[in-house]
Amino acid sequence: MADVPKPEELAKIDHTPPETPWMETPTVFKDGMWCYGAKPQNLEAVGMPNPREWSPKDEDWKLPDDWKEIVLDGMKDRLGRFRSFKLFMDICVRCGACADKCHYFIGSGDPKNMPVLRAELLRSVYRKNFTLGGKLFKKVAGARDLTMDVFKEWWYYFFQCSECRRCSVFCPYGIDTAEITMMGRELINLLGCNIDWIQAPVANCYRTGNHLGIQPHAYVSMIEFFCDEIEDVTGVRVNPTFNRKGAEILFITPSGDVFADPGTYTAMGYLMLFHYLESMGLDITWSTYASEGGNFGFFTSHEMAKRLNAKMYAEAKRLGVKWILGGECGHMWRVVHQYMDTFNGPPDFLEEPVSPITGTKFEHAKSTKMVHICEFTADLIRHNKLKLDPSRNDNLVVTYHDSCNPSRGMGFFEEPRYIIKNVCNNFYEMPSNTIREETFCCGSGAGLNAGENLELRMRGGFPRANAVKHVHEKHGVNMLACICAIDRAALPTLMDYWVPDVEVTGVHELVGNALILDGEKKRTTDLRGEPLPGMEDIEDEDL
C-alpha cells in the first residue's frame, strides 16, 4: 500500500532539494531504488551470519548488539589483507575526474552516486577509526562515526553501484571504485544484510549449481526444448551430451542462457555451432552440475565468490576434460580473468587450450585453461571453418554493447565485433565515448537486476539507452547485441522503456541464424520463429 501524503504535507511547495553538505543530508530510502533484504533461509544455506526476517524499510534491522565492533573489526581485517583497499582509502585527492562518469549519477544527479562521494561514505568512517588526522580533527578531516544511519547509507548506496568500473578508467590514480563497493558489501554482509536478489542465487548456486535452483533433470529438459526448437527451424537434430566423462572440452555458460529469453536463443546458437563442429572433431560436453557461469558470490564476498567458482574446476577434474570453453557472460569472465586462477587454481590437471578444429593455441588462457566462446568462434571464422549466410540476418541492423566486465575486466573488444561483422551485413557502432573501455553499464549489473528496484535500473541504464536511441534514429538500428547474460536479461526492459523498437540479442544467436548446417532444410524463420528476410510470404502461407 502506497504512503498517501497528508494535505498539509502536500501544501509544502518547495521544488529545490536541501543544500546541506553531504554528511548532513539524510539518506531517504525511496521505493524503486532498493532491493528486498536477504531471506533467512538463503543466508543459512551458506552459513552466513544473522539470518532473520527483516526489511530494509524497517527502522530496526535486527542487528547483533555488537554490530559496530563487527563492522570495524571487519574493516581492520580487510585493510590488512587487501593492500589495494588500504591504498584506495588513502590516496584519493578528490579531483573529481570520476564524479560525472557513473551511469547512476548521470541518470539521477544524486551526488552520493558520484563514485568519489560513494567512496567517501566508507572513507569517512575509515578516517575516524584508522587515521590519526581523522581521530584528532574529526569532521574537519572528513571523518565521522559509524552510526546506524551511516550503515544504512552504505547499504543504500553500495547497492546502487553495479561495479562496472567505468569511473576507474578515468581515475588518474587508478583507484578501482568497484573494489571499494566490494569491500563495502563485504562489511554489510558481516551483519547478514545482503539483498535477496543476490543472496538467493548464491544459495541456489551452492546447492544446485545455478542461480535459479534448476535441478539436473530440468536443466536437461530445457536444453532438449532448445533442440526441438532448432529442429523446427533447421530440420536438423542436435544432440548435446551432459556430464560426459572423457570429453575433451567442458562447456560452461550462465544459466540465464538456459532459462531467460532472449539468452535462450543464444544457447541455441551454441548448440548449433557445437553440432556443426562435431564432424570436424569437436568433443564437448555440458554439465548439469557446473550449470552456472555467473557467480553472485562475487557480489557478496571474495570467499563466497571462491566457493561458488570452485565448481568449475571441480567439475572439469571430475569429468577429466582437457580445458573449459565459456559462454557469453559478463562477471563470470571477470572472475575467470582476474580471480579464478588464484582462487582455485592453477589447474595443473588441465591442458593449455588448443582449438581441435584450427589447431590454434589459446596462449592467453595458458594459466586459467578457460577460453571465451567469442575467441573460439572468431578463430573459426578467421580460418574459414564456418559456412555462413549473413543475409539471413539482413532484417537486423545491429549495434554492439560492450558488456562492462569483458570489456573493462579483460580488454575484450575485437572478437565479438569480428564475429558480428561476419554474420551480419548491417552493423553500426554507437558513439565512441559510450563503447569499448568507456562503455555504459546496462544499469543492472552486480546483482541489481531485480524487479523492485526498476526505477534505479531505468535511470542507471539511461546513458546506455540514450546512445542506442541515437543509432536507432540515425541508422535504423533495431538490434542490440551483447555478450552478457545480465545484459540479455536487463536490456530488453531498458529498451522497452527508452527505445521500444530495439530488441536484444547475444552474439551467438546471430551466429546460429547465419550458420549453414549440413542437411538443413530451407530455412524460413530465424531462431525466434520470425520470418527470414524475403520469407515473409512463405511464413504467411504456413500460418
Partner: protein, 179 residues
C-alpha cells in the same frame, strides 16, 4: 505587440531561464555538470532537458500551446523525471514554472495589451500541465507494466522450457524427463 511576439523576441533568454529553473530541482552539487557538459552522450540528462525545453517552447509559444507538437518534448523530459527522485508534483513542476518565468519577463510591457493574452496563456499552460500529467502517468504505468512483464516472462518461460506446463490447444505433450 502581442504576448507571443514578446516571448518569441526573448526566446533565448526564456529558454535559458526555464532550463535553469528545472535544474534547480536537482541537488546543487550536480547542477554544474548538467549545465556545462555539452556532449550529448556524456550528459544525456542535460542534453535531453535542454532539447525538451527548447521544443516545448516552440510548441507553446510559436504554435499556440499545440498539445500534439508538445507531446514528444514533454515525453523527452518526463520519461527521465518519472524514474528520478521526484514526487509527481516536483517532476511536473517545470511546466507551471513557465508561467512564473514569463511574468518575470514582462514588467515594462504595456499592461492593457497583455491582459487578455495573459489570461489565455494561463489557461493554456494549465491545460498543458494536465497534458503533462497524462504523459507522466503513462511513463509510470509503463514502469509498473515492465515490472510485471519481467516476472511473468521469467516464471512462465522457465516452466514452459522445463516442460512442466501444458496449455490447451498446444500439440506438445509433456515428455518424460531424462537425465
Amino acid at each position: 505587440m502581442t504576448l507571443r511576439d514578446i516571448l518569441i523576441k526573448r526566446r533565448d533568454s526564456l529558454v535559458k531561464k526555464w532550463f535553469e529553473l528545472i535544474l534547480e530541482t536537482y541537488p546543487e552539487d550536480s547542477r554544474d555538470f548538467f549545465r556545462k557538459q555539452k556532449n550529448q552522450f556524456a550528459n544525456p540528462l542535460g542534453y535531453n532537458l535542454k532539447e525538451g525545453i527548447s521544443g516545448l517552447f516552440e510548441a507553446i509559444v510559436e504554435h499556440g500551446c499545440d498539445r500534439e507538437k508538445a507531446a514528444p518534448y514533454l515525453d523527452q523530459i518526463l520519461r527521465i523525471r518519472a524514474v528520478q527522485e521526484f514526487s509527481p508534483s516536483v517532476a511536473l513542476s517545470f511546466v507551471l514554472d513557465f508561467k512564473k518565468i514569463v511574468r518575470n519577463e514582462l514588467p515594462g510591457e504595456p499592461d492593457e495589451i497583455l491582459a487578455e493574452d495573459l489570461e489565455r496563456f494561463d489557461r493554456d499552460m494549465d491545460e498543458m500541465a494536465l497534458h503533462a500529467f497524462d504523459i507522466y502517468m503513462k511513463c509510470r504505468e509503463r514502469i509498473f507494466e515492465l515490472r510485471v512483464n519481467e516476472l511473468r516472462n521469467l516464471m512462465f518461460g522457465a516452466l514452459e522450457r522445463a516442460n512442466l506446463v501444458s496449455f490447451p490447444g498446444e500439440e506438445k505433450q509433456v515428455k518424460e524427463n531424462k537425465i
